[in-house]
């Protein structure tokens, strides 16, 4: 089988909006539909040509199981085209891209619509197991007396919900919350609060400065129930973010000694991204001029309680396959889950000791140059709709390559549960 490259023809995303704000009323299926619809409209692709739809989503809506299928059908993709939802936590959007690559390699199709969608506003609240038991007892009760008995078994505490979002952000294996894993890195790598806040500030400043550039990736979302108001911008970046304001914020995960705050962590956000990807030859046949090609990628596992270092493991594994190291990249996007986490990655990358001990490499990965890293801001400013972020980084990196007229981009994310993802892209 000839190794045909997967090319990214075009991509578009909804604005990223903080959970509970502009896009709160739209579910992940609706956000995904809007992105795919805009992608089809701006590329003019005949939906009949699509071989499969692959979408990442971490917290699938309860009322739209296999949300990729719901997105596909609602966006006008023919019923005969299959669709699959993929879940690799924070790298779900990358997983959608790389699965398309694998399917292409395996001869299972050549035109894919991939991406990610997440409505973190709509992650449900859950009843406690004790309450669930009482509800099912009530359901089973047949006579009036038994029903009355079952009803009186409820206590006020039964109605205090478990927050799905918090459950999702807690690692069930190591028992740590994601923020607690960031605190661990803060301690072990001596990343100060000031350094974290400074990094967060830079993310906001870069995102604010890049508004016009980012607008190229964004399709407006029309709130038809709200007079057709068009949401056209990310609402995470703060124009007037300041060191003072960041310093005032309370630490969330370790009240007394910690450094991680809401200000230096990624935002909880709603949004969706859609990419049109194809085999390189198919794209040429159809007369498309792709943005770029996927030239290599890797996923790697690591200690779940230090999941923030995941990018290093994935970049190392990708290097083993492609021979490419961060110095070969002209543009680098590493997802800003936490400032602490990304700063720890930056510290460990040039470390020989780390390379030998953890990456099984004699050579370190080398410096990750700050002037190439997240030049248009990152998730601390723009937000991190978990299932969508991976696809957003691919799109943002490719667009930046075109602006800089440079060759290669590296995209990487840390993944809850102790993994990393790394993708190498090349401009076309």
């Amino acid at each position: 089988m000839s190794a045909e490259r997967l090319v990214i023809v075009d991509g578009v995303r909804t604005p990223f909006c903080k959970a509970g704000t502009d896009l709160a009323a739209l579910g992940a299926d609706e956000l995904g539909r809007i992105a795919v619809n805009a992608l089809l409209t701006r590329t003019g692709l005949d939906p009949q040509l699509v071989d499969e739809v692959i979408f990442g989503c971490v917290a699938q809506p309860m009322d739209a199981a296999n949300v990729a299928r719901v997105i596909a059908l609602r966006a006008g993709i023919p019923q005969s085209v299959p669709a699959v939802t993929v879940q690799r936590n924070c790298a779900s959007g990358c997983e959608a891209v790389t699965q398309a690559q694998e399917k292409l390699q395996a001869g299972r199709g050549s035109v894919f619509i991939v991406g990610g969608a997440e409505s973190m506003s709509n992650i449900p609240l859950l009843f406690k197991p004790t309450a669930v038991e009482k509800f099912s007892a009530l359901n089973r009760a047949k006579t009036f007396g038994r029903r009355l008995g079952a009803m009186t078994a409820f206590r006020p505490a039964d109605f205090s919900p478990r927050v799905g979002l918090l459950l999702g952000l807690t690692d069930p294996v190591c028992g740590l919350n994601m923020g607690e894993t960031a605190e661990l890195l803060t301690r072990e790598h001596a990343v100060t609060r000031e350094q974290q806040d400074a990094f967060a500030l830079q993310s906001h400043q870069r995102a604010v400065a890049a508004r016009e550039k980012l607008a190229e990736e964004i399709c407006p979302v029309f709130l038809t129930n709200n007079g057709g108001h068009a949401v056209t911008q990310d609402n995470g970046p703060r124009e007037n973010q300041s060191p003072e304001a960041l310093a005032k914020l309370r630490t969330v995960f370790d009240r007394n000694h910690g450094a991680v705050t809401a200000g230096n962590a990624s935002q909880v956000t709603d949004g969706a991204v859609a990419l049109l990807v194809m085999g390189e030859r198919r794209a040429a046949e159809l007369g498309f001029k792709p943005l770029g090609a996927l030239i290599g990628y890797a996923y790697a596992g690591c200690d779940p309680s230090r999941m923030g270092l995941g990018p290093l493991f994935a970049i190392a594994r990708a290097a083993a396959r492609t021979g490419l190291i961060p110095a070969d990249a002209d543009v680098i996007e590493i997802n800003e889950a936490f400032a602490a986490q990304i700063l720890a990655v930056l510290r460990c990358a040039p470390s020989e000791k780390f390379a030998r001990q953890f990456l099984h490499r004699d050579e370190p990965l080398g410096e990750i140059p700050a002037d190439k890293l997240n030049v248009n801001g990152g998730a601390i400013a723009l937000g991190h709709p978990v299932g969508a972020s991976g696809a957003r980084l691919v799109l943002t990196a490719l667009k930046e390559l075109h602006r800089r007229k440079k060759r290669r981009a590296l995209v990487s994310l840390c993944v809850g549960g102790g993994q990393g993802a790394a993708l190498w892209l090349e401009r076309m």
């Binding site: 539909r33 619809n37 805009a38 089809l40 409209t41 701006r42 590329t43 003019g44 005949d46 609602r74 966006a75 006008g76 407006p220 029309f222 709130l223 038809t224 129930n225 709200n226 007079g227 057709g228 108001h229 068009a230 056209t232």
Partner: protein, 727 residues
């Protein structure tokens, strides 16, 4: 007893060459099951519909001969083998003008006799309804003991006779009130309502619903229950209550129809008098009632409109009828997200077509998307769509606030602001963006399609598709053929109009095309009369009395004075001698009194439903010369101008047939359908009388009433528009 008559007939010509004549295929198929239940299946050969004509009735009578001799049978089930029609009703051709009164009497009597025989069968009878059971198609169901219906979209049940000027006379007016009680039955019959399966069950029109696959089994179960015992509805179905209900209903009907629709009044009379009489007496009332109606003008006109609608649905162009069937349209775009653009996009998406909605910026597109969403919400509220259908429809609209590829589209409809320069700019760009096969349509209401076409690289792909506002209510679409429009483009545009369930009329490219051109002198005259002292209420009321759905000044308010003024100016540029735009209209527009959209025009449009005449517009009145005119005189002036302009359109061959003019005016403006359209109305008055009335006005200084040459020649020769050719 009515409904769609499928034109397909049995082809006997092929058989003519055979040596022995073969008996024509039968419509009714009989099967007697092992369990003693007889199935009669209606399956009209060579057609997708079942209808009742004399032959089918005769066949049914033969089947009854058989059934009446088989008392050992356990039951009878009536079904249809058609996919979407049970029985669509009686063959309307028998009711058309030209049929003698005796023929109609025979048809009614024969039908009633057959229904009575079904009702008298000794074993239980069930109608298993799948598809449309309308008019006579439902009256036969009413003659059965039980009715079961399929839970299917195609299933529609009702007695729509009054809508075409008739009344249910095969027992419908008699049996329905006995089945569901007088008040509900009146509601159904007077409005000529058609119900889907679920509401039909709720109202008692059917006894049970079942999936179509189990329909016959459901019918058989009813047979096992024997003959039904039904409530007598004694509370309403007695002489006293009926008289009371009749009095109140009559008042309501008169208020609503202004006495223009005799069938509704006659049906009211028949149903309320018949309900307390023995069945046979009531049936006689039905027959006498319908015989009275078929002699009237309204009935003929309404039936004619019905046939014109059927014709429009099947219309093809002679040049293309021979060639291949034009390909259906599957991918579309609408340029302009204003009221018309959004309305068109909503209609297309509701008909299953993906639509790109393009406007200059996100704000405009957003407004369009919101109005489309509102149309869907309203539709869902009125049960036209399920919530899921409404959502899917909205999903099919793709907002495009920036330029997007259009090469792969079949059709682009431009619905931008009515400015020639802007439209030319848009079409120049569309010529670049669209594919070789893409049809470029303009929704202009008055501008020249050829001029717009000249701005593109591909003028032969340009055609006018003039939708009317509000798009989801107005069935007519004017298809404007410019001289350079390619025949295949025209044919595909026509096919598209039918595909989306609109009624097409093909017109020549000329200012205002057909409908607006005829309507505008009428609206302008209303404005002039107002300016010269006629009262707002008088002007509107007299036209409501005439049978228009809305008075002219109220219509101006709805259209928007600025929009109307713009169309009027376009027309005045060519027909200035007879179209003088009232200064009051210009002044009101300048003062921001634009009608509904600005909150006030001739009327004040509040949040509450009824608009009130605006007390302050009296300052725009400039004289009192028309103050003394009676309502009838006002009506005459306004209608004569429509007649005259309609005649001119015929004269200038904007369309070829008088029926097209009348049809377009009824479907496009709601012109009093019972009058049959402006030309039919003129014929009913007589051309000589029309011309005389106009010349009288000319002599009194109103030169714009000068009758056109065609009218004058018809008057001189004593002919009419419809019977002009033969003399």
């Amino acid at each position: 007893m009515i409904a769609a008559q499928d034109q397909a007939t049995v082809r006997t010509t092929e058989r003519a060459s055979k040596p022995t004549p073969v008996a024509p295929e039968r419509t009714i198929r009989r099967t007697v099951r092992d369990d003693g239940i007889c199935l009669l299946t209606f399956d009209r050969p060579g057609s997708s519909a079942n209808v009742f004509d004399l032959r089918t009735l005769a066949e049914l009578a033969e089947e009854l001969d058989f059934l009446e001799r088989q008392p050992q049978l356990r039951g009878l089930v009536l079904t249809s083998a058609k996919r979407s029609i049970f029985i669509a009703g009686a063959d309307l051709k028998a009711m058309q003008q030209g049929a003698s009164l005796d023929q109609v009497r025979e048809l009614i009597g024969y039908g009633q006799a057959v229904m009575n025989r079904i009702a008298a069968l000794p074993f239980p009878t069930v109608a298993a309804i799948h598809g449309a059971a309308l008019g006579g198609g439902y009256e036969i169901c009413l003659a059965c003991d039980w009715r079961v219906a399929s839970l299917d979209r195609a299933t529609k049940i009702g007695l729509p006779e009054t809508q075409i000027g008739l009344l249910p006379a095969w027992g419908g007016s008699t049996r329905l009130p006995r089945l569901i009680g007088l008040p509900k039955a009146l509601d159904m019959i007077l409005a000529g309502k058609t119900l889907a399966a679920k509401p039909a069950l709720k109202l008692g029109l059917v006894d049970e619903l079942a999936p179509v696959e189990y329909l016959v089994e459901a019918a058989v179960k009813k047979i096992q229950r024997g003959k039904p015992h039904r409530p007598s509805h004694w509370l309403f179905n007695n002489k006293l209550a009926a008289a009371f209900i009749a009095r109140r209903a009559r008042k309501q009907v008169l208020h609503k129809t202004r006495g223009n629709y005799p069938a509704v009044l006659e049906a009211l009379e028949v149903v309320t008098r018949g309900v307390s009489q023995p069945t046979l007496v009531s049936l006689t009332l039905e027959r006498d009632g319908i015989l009275k109606l078929v002699q009237g003008e309204a009935c003929h006109n309404l039936i004619r409109v019905f046939f014109l609608q059927e014709r429009a649905k099947k219309l093809t162009l002679p040049a293309v009828a021979r060639g291949a069937d034009p390909k259906p349209i599957s991918r579309t775009a609408v340029i302009g997200a204003g009221v018309m653009g959004a309305g068109i996009a909503q209609w297309l998406s509701a008909r299953g077509l993906p639509v790109i909605l393009r406007d200059l910026n996100a704000e405009q597109v957003g407004k369009g998307m919101a109005s489309i969403a509102r149309l869907y919400q309203d539709g869902a509220k009125r049960h036209l769509f399920t919530p899921v259908e409404a959502r899917d429809g909205l999903d099919r609209v793709s907002p495009a606030p920036t330029e997007v590829p259009l090469t792969h589209l079949d059709l682009v409809i431009e619905a931008a602001v009515e400015t020639l320069d802007l439209k030319k700019k848009i079409f120049a760009r569309l010529g670049e963006l669209a594919g070789e096969e893409t049809i470029l349509a303009t929704n202009t209401s008055a501008l020249s399609v050829s001029e717009i076409a000249a701005a593109t690289r591909r003028p032969e792909r340009v055609v006018g598709l003039h939708f009317f506002n509000p798009v989801h209510r107005m069935q007519l679409v004017e298809i404007v053929a410019a001289p350079q429009t390619a025949p295949d483009v025209l044919a595909r545009a026509l096919r598209f109009t039918q595909q989306i369930g609109k009624l097409p009329v093909v017109v020549k490219d000329s200012p205002g095309f057909l409908v607006n051109r005829i309507l505008m002198p009428y609206l302008i005259e209303a404005g002039n009369l107002f300016e010269c002292g006629a009262g707002i209420v008088d002007l509107d009321e007299t036209m409501l009395d005439f049978g228009m759905p809305m008075g002219p000044l109220r219509l101006l308010d709805e259209v928007g004075l600025d929009v109307a003024l713009h169309v009027a100016e376009t027309l005045a540029a060519k027909f200035g001698d007879r179209l003088k735009i009232p200064e009051s209209l210009v002044a009101m527009t300048k003062a921001g009194l634009l009608g509904r959209k600005s909150g006030a025009g001739f009327y004040v449009h509040g949040k509450s439903k009824e608009a009130q005449p605006h007390p302050l517009v009296s300052k725009f009145v400039r004289g009192q010369s028309m103050r003394a005119l009676s309502r009838l005189e006002l009506q005459e002036r306004m209608t004569l101008l429509m007649v005259n302009e309609a005649a001119r359109c015929l004269e200038e061959q904007i369309i070829s047939e008088p029926a097209d003019v009348d049809f377009a005016m009824i479907m496009g403006t709601g012109f009093a359908p019972f009058r049959g359209g402006p030309l039919r109305y003129a014929d009913s008055l007589g051309a000589a009388k029309v011309v005389a009335a106009m010349e009288f006005l000319v002599d009194n200084g109103a030169t714009h009433f000068a009758p056109c040459a065609l009218l004058k020649s018809l008057a001189a020769n004593g002919k009419g528009f419809y019977h002009g050719k033969g003399g």
